[in-house]
């Protein structure tokens, strides 16, 4: 199982903030996981194609080629605006 999280405007667009799923066989890194999610439909394809999105694995920001493993928490979010 992996846990997926979406924040802020992305959470609103996707209509969910949190989900769990079995790691799909064709997924081995952030890029392939994002592509797999985009295949869910138009909204997913569009929302996750924003090049400004950040991805974190286990709460550390990572790059597209970072491996994804069973048990990971993977989060997508727009540029931060705190402070």
């Amino acid at each position: 199982m992996i846990r997926l999280r979406y924040f802020a405007s992305l959470r609103e667009t996707l209509g969910r903030g949190d989900e769990q799923l079995e790691l799909p066989e064709e997924v081995n890194d952030v890029s392939s996981l994002t592509r797999w999610l985009q295949s869910r439909g138009k909204v997913w394809e569009c929302a996750l194609s924003d090049s400004r999105l950040h991805v974190a694995i286990n709460q550390e920001v990572v790059k597209p080629d970072t491996p994804v493993s069973d048990g990971d928490e993977v989060a997508w979010f727009p540029p931060v605006t705190g402070g």
Binding site: A8, A56, Q59, E60, F77, G83
Partner: protein, 138 residues
């Protein structure tokens, strides 16, 4: 010391506790307080809600504090950030650095707030008379 909380913080009490912890070792304390503005990009802000990524937020702020302590000789460093609903003039964030040297305290405080604004997972949602909108980041 870092904290993420929905409730307000007491700036004077935080500065007083910092001073007690420093006990004669710090000659300079610099603090930054971020407040909610009534206007953003020419629109009136009625309320603001801060979303964050629980867990990652605390890790990110802890790293920023540690990096500031590593780069400058600090006797103390504090980051407090609020989340949840806020209104104009509410305090959002408090950052403080204490050092024997004035320049170090200024540089460390500015480093912490600058870095927080690009690295810590907080997102602002503003309600204006036209509805609600997410503040755009870079």
């Amino acid at each position: 010391m870092i904290r993420v909380q929905t409730e307000d913080f007491d700036t004077g009490s935080e500065l007083e506790q910092l001073r007690e912890r420093c006990a004669g070792q710090a000659g300079a304390v610099v603090c930054f307080v971020g407040l909610v503005r009534e206007f953003n990009e020419a629109e009136t802000v009625l309320t603001m809600t801060l979303e964050h990524y629980p867990g990652m937020t605390e890790k990110a702020l802890g790293k920023i504090e540690q990096e500031a302590r590593r780069r400058w000789e600090l006797t103390d460093a504090i980051i407090i950030h609020r989340v949840g609903p806020l209104v104009p003039n509410d305090r959002i964030v408090f950052v403080a650095a204490a050092s024997a040297h004035r320049k170090f305290a200024f540089q460390a405080c500015e480093y912490m707030i600058d870095t927080l604004k690009t690295r810590a997972p907080f997102w602002k949602n503003e309600t204006t008379p036209e509805g609600s909108r997410w503040v755009e980041g870079n």
